[in-house]
């Protein structure tokens, strides 16, 4: 099943049309330099339906899920939730709703935690 824009919007609950393209998310992002696509690009690329590069990108696993972009976005767009939604969409493509550690791409930085798991912890901490 191909991942389309609607799927990403449904998973994330984000409305990228609210974005005023100020770039505060990318100004705030602590993992900016690690990521191939930056938070503001996630918003723009999802809005434009340009999903293929995102689905293949390592950036999905390099986002720290720190949610600083969500916290500081003046338009309440929540770019971090979009990153997570794209990541979830990739996981679900493998007919699973979770990530098997073996499948985490080998090229990932071993010093970084597994972001899908970190995100899940953050989400369900309460």
């Amino acid at each position: 099943m191909a991942v389309d824009k609607e799927t990403i919007l449904r998973i994330s609950g984000v409305n990228p049309r609210q974005c005023m393209k100020c770039g505060k998310c990318s100004g705030t992002c602590p993992a900016y330099n690690e990521m191939e696509y930056h938070p503001h690009q996630f918003v723009s690329m999802v809005e434009n339906g340009n999903l293929e590069p995102l689905l293949k990108s390592e950036s999905l696993y390099l986002c720290l899920s720190c949610m600083a972009c969500v916290q500081r976005c003046p338009r309440q767009v929540a770019p971090g939730k979009l990153v997570e939604a794209v990541r979830l969409a990739v996981v679900r493509q493998q007919n699973m709703d979770h990530l098997v550690p073996d499948q985490i791409p080998a090229m990932l930085d071993p010093e970084l935690p597994q972001q899908a798991i970190v995100s899940a912890f953050r989400k369900y901490k309460k």
Partner: protein
């Protein structure tokens, strides 16, 4: 039985494209009482109006129904038309077949059907119409201006120059407002004080202008032409008739630790103080909370110093009540304190300032005597970062939803002034959009970029941190697709502006409406921009919406013109569609008086003749000069005694019957 004429307007294609106007004419011709019906392309045009006038004369019409746009648009137009043909203007009814029909329907069959029903309802109503006559009320030829900033000063000067008396109520000890705190003004860079202080002096010296400084509006009663306003004079503890403004007391005052409001708290002032050197009126004032005498009864140095004997610790609040014909709101704005924006370090670092604080730092009369230095260590900064849109244009709870409008230009001004005084200082501006509509505005901003070499970077600052006495600014550069980490000695936040917090209570007193941001609403966004929907209340300056000085002054003069137009009249025509009470039905319950938003209803003991019995009863009486015809009392009245002329209960029921037929 009325002889009714029906006039169906095409409004070009606005109505005719969705409503079959010929079919409407045919259907309405058959309604009871209709003796003539026709359609025309533009009924509001001169020839359209002549059509109505001719038909009134030819067919001896006693009532007219115009099927056209909203009555808000052209009811007044057509009332004049029927009046010109000899009918009472209130023998006209409008059926709104544009906004309520053609514009909201796509299907011509549906639209036509509904237009016929709306027309029939208006015909049923006009059957019961009776001629109405407006009363008149006299106009008090004095205006009140609330707020003594540049908006209030300009409005007051213009009204006074036309020969009418004006009172300015200002809550601070001096007039001048925010403009008095500014250094230079865009786009010409003339000094704010040089152009403002002469106006302040003019206002203070004008024989028709009376300044109520250090005063607040306490209570407003009455209505257009006849407002009665109670003004609270806060105690200065200074006899204004004796104080010469010499300032000797200020020099002697030992309590020197109160943050100086005029300098945005960047330095301190004494407990007895004169706000600034050019203050009007130039009078000292004692800050009771800071004064040692008021704390422990000791000190009294100012009393001993004052040669004029002007200090009076026993002063108390005074209340003054005056009558006004018109009230102008000029309550202005404040810049928000960006204390909720932790990421910019405003709370932690002295070197992160708001643009109004920066304005004081740049000002020759400011806390640093105009020397551009870091508040933390008093040294000249090497690089300054400006952040735009702090707290503006956002949707979260700490943001204002609107664009504050003035920040793009004053930031360009700040950047340019810094570069002009100190070309060696590196200046960077982070922007989302640069918005510079205005005469010579974009040229001004381009000069900052091209001539002065200010770095404009499209992107937003994500966070500011402090390390080793320097600010570390992390931001995005969207055009270069990179994240920037740069050092800055100072960060200037272009924080949003918001209406003054007192505006809300003033709006309540005036029954003037406000929007969700607490800006005053204008009577019409385009065509009546300086009037409040509440008659007799006018708007001047930022209290109505963000605007810069040229716009504020233009609006201030526009408001003055409206006030002059009102005060020039000796009498005002009141609304004819007002409530009235049937005293034989009134049971004296007071519910109508409780719901009346205008205070138009009072109760009186009257001798009432009811079913052959003569007795004294407590009954509702409507002051027709105050009643706005809202109808709240008529729907509240449990006994059906209260009725609204022009919208009588039997008229409304006749309309409903016609619609439901």
């Amino acid at each position: 039985m009325q002889k009714i004429g029906v006039f169906v307007c095409w409004c070009g294609s606005n109505i005719a494209a969705t409503v079959d106007v010929a079919a409407v004419v045919e259907a309405l011709k058959k309604q009871p009482g209709v003796v003539y019906a026709t359609d025309y392309q533009y009924m509001c045009s001169a020839s359209g109006q002549n059509l109505i006038k001719d038909a009134i004369k030819e067919y001896g019409l006693t009532g007219v129904v115009v099927c056209s746009c909203s009555p808000r648009m052209h009811e007044a137009t057509f009332r004049k038309t029927v009046q010109a043909a000899g009918l009472n203007p209130y023998m006209l009814e409008i059926a709104n077949i544009r906004e309520q029909c053609s514009w909201i329907h796509k299907d011509i069959k549906e639209g036509t059907e509904k237009a016929i029903i709306l027309g029939a309802a208006a015909i049923a109503k006009v059957q019961l119409n009776a001629p109405l006559y407006s009363q008149t009320s006299p106009v008090v030829k004095r205006a009140l201006v609330i707020g003594g900033g540049i908006a209030g000063i300009q409005t007051a000067l213009d009204i006074a120059d036309a020969g009418f008396e004006v009172d300015i109520v200002e809550k601070k000890p001096t007039i001048g407002g925010k403009m008095s705190q500014l250094d230079k003004t865009f786009p010409t860079l003339d000094c704010a004080a040089c152009i403002l202080t002469p106006k302040m002096v003019d206002a203070g010296a004008h024989e028709k202008i009376n300044l109520y400084t250090y005063c607040e509006v306490e209570k407003v009663e009455g209505f257009v032409g006849n407002f009665s306003v109670t003004i609270k004079q806060k105690p200065r503890y200074i006899d204004a008739t004796k104080c010469t403004g010499c300032g000797a007391c200020v020099e002697k005052c030992p309590s020197k630790k109160t943050p100086n409001e005029f300098n945005m708290g960047l330095d301190n002032r004494t407990a007895i103080y004169i706000p600034f050197a050019q203050a009007v009126p130039k009078l000292a004032v004692i800050d009771k909370d800071a004064c040692i005498h008021f704390k422990n009864g000791k000190c009294g140095l100012c009393v001993r110093t004052c040669e004029a004997g002007a200090i009076n610790y026993d002063q108390t609040e005074e209340f003054i009540t005056r009558e006004y014909g018109a009230i102008v709101v000029a309550t202005g704005f404040n810049q928000i304190k960006p204390t909720n924006f932790d990421e910019y370090l405003y709370n932690q670092s002295k070197d992160v300032v708001t643009s109004l604080e920066f304005e004081r730092i740049m000002n020759a009369a400011g806390p640093t005597k105009g020397h551009l230095v870091r508040p933390s260590n008093g040294k000249q900064p090497k690089n300054i970062v400006f952040v735009q849109c702090v707290g503006s244009r956002g949707t979260s709870c700490r943001d204002k939803s609107y664009c504050s409008k003035i920040c793009c230009m004053y930031t360009a001004k700040h950047a340019m002034l810094v570069k002009d005084h100190h070309p060696e200082i590196d200046v960077t501006v982070f922007y989302i959009d640069v918005r510079t509509p205005g005469k010579n505005f974009d040229e001004f901003y381009r000069r900052a970029v091209e001539q002065y070499g200010v770095h404009y970077i499209k992107g937003m600052v994500g966070k500011v941190e402090e390390a080793d006495g320097t600010l570390k600014v992390q931001a995005s550069d969207l055009l270069d697709n990179r994240q920037i980490l740069m050092d800055a000695d100072m960060v200037v936040l272009a924080a949003a502006i918001e209406p003054d917090p007192t505006a809300r209570s003033i709006a309540t007193m005036l029954t003037a409406s406000m929007d969700t941001n607490d800006f005053f609403t204008e009577a019409h966004a385009k065509l009546r921009p300086v009037e409040s929907p509440t008659a007799g209340i006018f708007l001047s300056g930022v209290c109505q919406g963000p605007k810069d000085i040229p716009e504020t002054v233009a609006q201030a003069s526009a408001a003055a013109a409206k006030v002059i137009g009102l005060l020039a009249k000796d009498h005002l025509l009141c609304n004819a569609c007002v409530a009235h009470s049937d005293e034989t039905l009134c049971n004296g319950c007071s519910q109508c008086a409780n719901v009346c938003a205008y205070g138009a209803i009072t109760y009186e003991d009257r001798l009432v003749m009811d079913k052959g019995v003569r007795e004294t009863r407590r009954v509702a009486v409507v002051n027709e000069a105050i009643c706005q015809g809202c109808g709240a009392c008529t729907v509240t009245c449990p006994s059906g005694a209260m009725d609204l002329r022009g919208f009588a209960n039997n008229q409304i029921m006749a309309e409903v019957d016609a619609i439901c037929k």
